[in-house]
């Protein structure tokens, strides 16, 4: 199909867009966090804040994600609730962000905080998010806002992240621009060499750039048009593991994303429609092996949603279409896949219980019917507010283009992963003290795993049944003494992600924690903020992570301590971040050292009118 026709096809199916959430209020250092948002019934949604404006999503301290990082600035894949990186879906205004080749995204490429949609919460936007998803939404600015931030620090790093938004009568404009560069030439103890010498990281330079302009036009009291672009560029050298003397590997990423949407807000009816075109280019180069691998993908997608309020009932229905084409360097030809979906949800409040049911039908080579049922209630005692919620349902994840068409090994007969999920949670608020506890269970059948077919050819297979279950608990407390604000919070996660089945004799991994996933992880933060100054400490940690499926080898546990000092004068905000204060040597991946003590200075000039 010619491009123009594809684009027309996308526009014709116009869209929906989910509206918006409140961004975190900017303060000196105090992060904001919405534990259970009431935006959507019965599910858990949190705001994901980047701790400093020149960091990326992979630098987030208070995050539920487990990162596998190859180096600072290097590839950062994630696991949410013990699931695979492909089980975390990313959405921009409801559009699927990740490449159809890989089915996952690198969190180091994103510089904007988003919203974490836990587990079944992501079903509102699409399938595949067994762990959940991250959502970025744009809405018409309400005032003028300028934020210019620059930073510099250890390892030859410097960055800038800027935001401008303005509203004039019917027109609103938002522009975000960022750039980051780092030599990443930090020192570390090379434990693989005789005498454990201190050496410098080599071949780890990286730069990132991104621009996201969004224009809004409210041409009628009830109608609004929005045009957005999100372009990103990145180049990264891929440093060798500490066991390798030298390499010459690098990766280049380029993404161009464009969307348009239309909103109608009536008294009882809301229509949201959008169409988008996303283009991703990834170029991997290994000069030693003379491997030069361009990978290209294009995605056309569109969606339309209608919401109707009738007394205490809320009905929502919509359709969406995604057409993806791609060519990895090893494909014989350009390959494509198309997914069509429709969904219907019903919400109602009965006796202060908010109940919600959602059902989706998606078709991509096979029919997939996913659903979610849930309820929530808030109970007010004298001084205690108790909020409880629960949801359960079914989800699917179809295979990626690489799973299907990689040569050699791609398996066109793969079925979609399917599985059930359930979660329940409670939040108790007493004065300034909040306690939150969530329990979840995810069971995934037909888990797609790349498995050797011969000594040299690997092929994806629907091999396993995997169960992931655990708890997430947070306690936070805020106090104000005169002009000093204090906030303490602690988050502990427990997760067991185990394979339930085996496809070969003598598999010692069955029933054992899956590799790279810590059983315990968490953070603890303390922030103190005065009128002109602020101070914060952050302690994060992971228990040991096995790197052999039979648990014969593991990476040791580690804890990192960070501190932030800030001074504010009018619109000028200066911060110093001290990372890994105790200079802990640790690995996110085996033989991939991470930096010890390092510093960042950040200057932020911000005006809100």
């Amino acid at each position: 199909m010619p491009k123009i026709q594809r684009f027309t096809f996308a526009i014709m199916n116009i869209i929906l867009v989910w509206k918006n959430k409140t961004n975190g209020q900017d303060t000196l250092v105090l992060p904001t966090q919405n534990i259970i948002a009431s935006r959507t019934f019965c599910v858990k949604v949190e705001r994901l804040n980047i701790p400093f404006t020149t960091g990326s999503l992979a630098d987030v301290t208070e995050t539920p994600f487990i990162f596998r990082r190859y180096s600072p600035g290097g590839l950062a894949s994630v696991s949410l609730r013990g699931t695979a990186p492909t089980h975390t879906q990313l959405y921009w205004n409801g559009m699927v962000l990740h490449s159809p080749l890989l089915g996952q995204s690198d969190f180091n490429l994103f510089f904007d905080g988003g919203e974490i949609l836990y587990g079944g919460a992501s079903l509102e936007y699409g399938i595949g998010g067994f762990g959940g998803g991250v959502l970025w939404n744009d809405e018409m600015p309400t005032d003028k806002q300028y934020r210019i931030s620059v930073s510099g620090g250890s390892f030859g790093s410097y960055a800038t992240n800027n935001h401008f938004s303005i509203k004039h009568k019917k027109i609103g404009v938002k522009i975000d621009f960022n750039y980051r560069y780092a030599d990443n030439d930090f020192s570390y103890i090379n434990t693989s060499l005789f005498g454990r010498p201190k050496v410098s990281q080599r071949s780890a330079k990286a730069w990132f750039a991104g621009i996201k302009p969004v224009v809004f036009y409210r041409f009628h009291e009830r109608h609004e048009l929005c045009f957005g672009a999100w372009n990103q560029w990145a180049f990264r050298q891929i440093p060798p593991p500490q066991t390798v003397r030298f390499n010459e590997e690098s990766q280049e990423d380029r993404s161009q994303r464009y969307l348009m949407r239309w909103n109608y807000k009536g008294k009882k009816t809301k229509v949201e429609a959008a169409a988008g075109y996303f283009n991703d280019y990834l170029y991997y180069e290994n000069r030693l092996s003379k491997l030069f691998a361009p990978n290209i993908s294009e995605v056309w997608q569109s969606t339309i949603n209608v919401t109707y309020h009738l007394n205490t009932w809320k009905l929502k229905t919509g359709i969406n279409a995604i057409h993806a084409e791609g060519k990895a360097s090893v494909y014989e030809n350009r390959r494509s896949q198309t997914r069509l979906g429709q969904h219907f949800s019903l919400s109602k409040s009965i006796n202060r219980w908010n109940l919600n049911g959602l059902i989706r039908y998606d078709y991509q080579n096979q029919s997939m019917i996913s659903y979610r049922l849930g309820g929530e209630k808030e109970i007010n005692f004298k001084k205690i507010i108790l909020h409880i919620y629960a949801n359960a349902g079914k989800n699917f994840r179809p295979p990626t283009l690489n799973d299907l068409y990689w040569i050699p090994g791609g398996n066109p007969n793969l079925r979609a992963e399917s599985g059930y999920f359930a979660e329940t949670g409670t939040e108790i608020t007493y004065k300034n003290l909040t306690f939150n506890l969530t329990g979840y269970l995810i069971n995934i059948d037909n888990w797609i795993q790349w498995f050797p077919q011969t000594a040299t050819i690997w092929s994806p297979q629907n091999l396993k049944t995997v169960s992931s279950y655990g708890t997430e608990s947070t306690i936070s407390h805020t106090r104000t003494f005169k002009e000093i604000n204090l906030k303490y919070s602690m988050h502990i996660r427990w997760n067991r992600a185990v394979s339930r089945t085996s496809s070969f004799y003598g598999d010692m991994s069955v029933g054992k924690q899956m590799i790279y996933l810590p059983e315990f992880s968490g953070w603890s933060t303390l922030y103190i903020e005065g009128k002109y100054w602020s101070f914060g400490t952050e302690l994060t940690g992971n228990s040991r992570r096995f790197v052999a499926a039979d648990h014969s080898d593991y990476l040791p546990a580690y804890a990192l301590l960070n501190a932030i000092f800030g001074v504010k004068y009018r619109s000028l905000n200066t911060k110093i971040r001290c990372q890994n204060i105790t200079n802990v040597g640790y690995f996110s991946m085996p033989n991939r050292p991470m930096p010890g003590f390092h510093l960042f200075f950040e200057l932020v000039y911000e005006i809100n009118r």
Partner: protein, 329 residues
């Protein structure tokens, strides 16, 4: 405070086994995962039942490196080729103490001793075969493509299996090349096909190799080269390991082990051993066939010891991705 909630790992002191005679045993080379993993060496003496895991790290206090590719015994030294770490670790074959390292290679694969303290080293990316004399690289014989296993015939010629990776943009990679050891120069080549990784020489001086597509035909084959004549035995699946004890050829194909006489005119119909796991490595000595099961490649594998008829004698747990053997006779 919250660190109390984290599960802290305890660090075990390495247990160093007391020195005992290693003869009659073998070293099993465990590749470890490419890039992030660590190669290990397991010592196994089937007669005494002694097993020593991760022998190099325990003795020398540091990991061996990334992707242990092969190990060759020359005199009383063990030469361990560590592919992605771009080096050869040389150890005392008895106590496994690290003696020195040969580096400045790109991606070494296998060693073939030539005699007079001279050896050839094949390489995945160097576009050549290294000549190492007195443990120093003295020359690189230019050869385009990935050079792999090698054998020495009785005329002083080295036959080198040469292939390409699936992503290779380099020319070559479809022929066996022949190097004259007296001049260290390529003197001839034999066009075979794609995917030539294995090469062996039997007691008659016949060269055996295997390919994934034979010449212009679109099928895999085992190929026999004798007195300049090429004879192909078409196979249903690519043969990925091929060894000989002189009298018989043993090969792995489609996750099963086959055996045939070097004088046979047809391929065997039935395997002598198969597994539901992932048969990956193969070794043959005068008494035994050793076959490795790499399982899912992210857990410790198993080595099966078989008699020459394929009957299982015993087995041992090795490291991650056991692949090659170094027999200490």
């Amino acid at each position: 405070m919250s660190a109390l909630f984290f599960e802290w790992a305890c660090t075990e002191k390495p247990k160093v086994s007391p020195p005992v005679s290693v003869y009659d045993g073998m070293y099993i080379v465990n590749e470890g995962n490419f890039d992030w993993g660590e190669g290990t060496i397991t010592y196994w003496n089937p007669k005494t039942g002694e097993v020593r895991d991760d022998n190099f790290k325990k003795i020398n206090g540091r990991p061996l490196g990334n992707v242990a590719q092969s190990m060759t015994k020359i005199n009383n030294l063990g030469y361990i080729v560590v592919n992605n770490s771009q080096k050869i670790e040389v150890v005392d074959i008895e106590n496994f103490q690290s003696l020195f390292t040969i580096s400045n290679m790109v991606s070494p694969r296998y060693i073939l001793p030539i005699g007079n303290n001279k050896m050839y080293v094949s390489d995945l990316y160097a576009d050549g075969v290294y000549v190492v004399s007195d443990n120093k690289i003295t020359q690189k014989i230019p050869v385009s493509g990935w050079t792999n296993r090698m054998v020495l015939d009785d005329k002083g010629k080295v036959w080198v299996a040469r292939r390409r990776t699936d992503f290779d943009t380099r020319p070559g990679g479809t022929s066996v090349i022949i190097i004259d050891t007296s001049t260290n120069a390529v003197v001839d080549s034999v066009e075979i096909g794609t995917g030539i990784e294995e090469i062996e020489i039997d007691e008659n001086g016949t060269i055996w190799t295997a390919c994934s597509t034979f010449q212009k035909a679109n099928h895999p084959a085992i190929v026999k080269i004798m007195n300049g004549n090429i004879q192909a035995f078409p196979t249903l699946f690519p043969v990925y390991r091929l060894r000989t004890d002189g009298e018989n050829i043993y090969f792995l194909m489609n996750n099963a082990l086959y055996s045939m006489s070097v004088n046979a005119s047809v391929l065997p119909e039935k395997p002598i051993f198969s597994s539901s796991g992932q048969l990956y490595g193969l070794g043959v000595n005068t008494e035994n066939i050793l076959v490795t099961d790499a399982k899912d490649y992210v857990q410790r594998g198993t080595v099966f010891r078989l008699d020459k008829s394929g009957n299982k004698k015993d087995s041992v747990k090795a490291g991650v991705i056991p692949s090659e053997f170094c027999f200490i006779d």
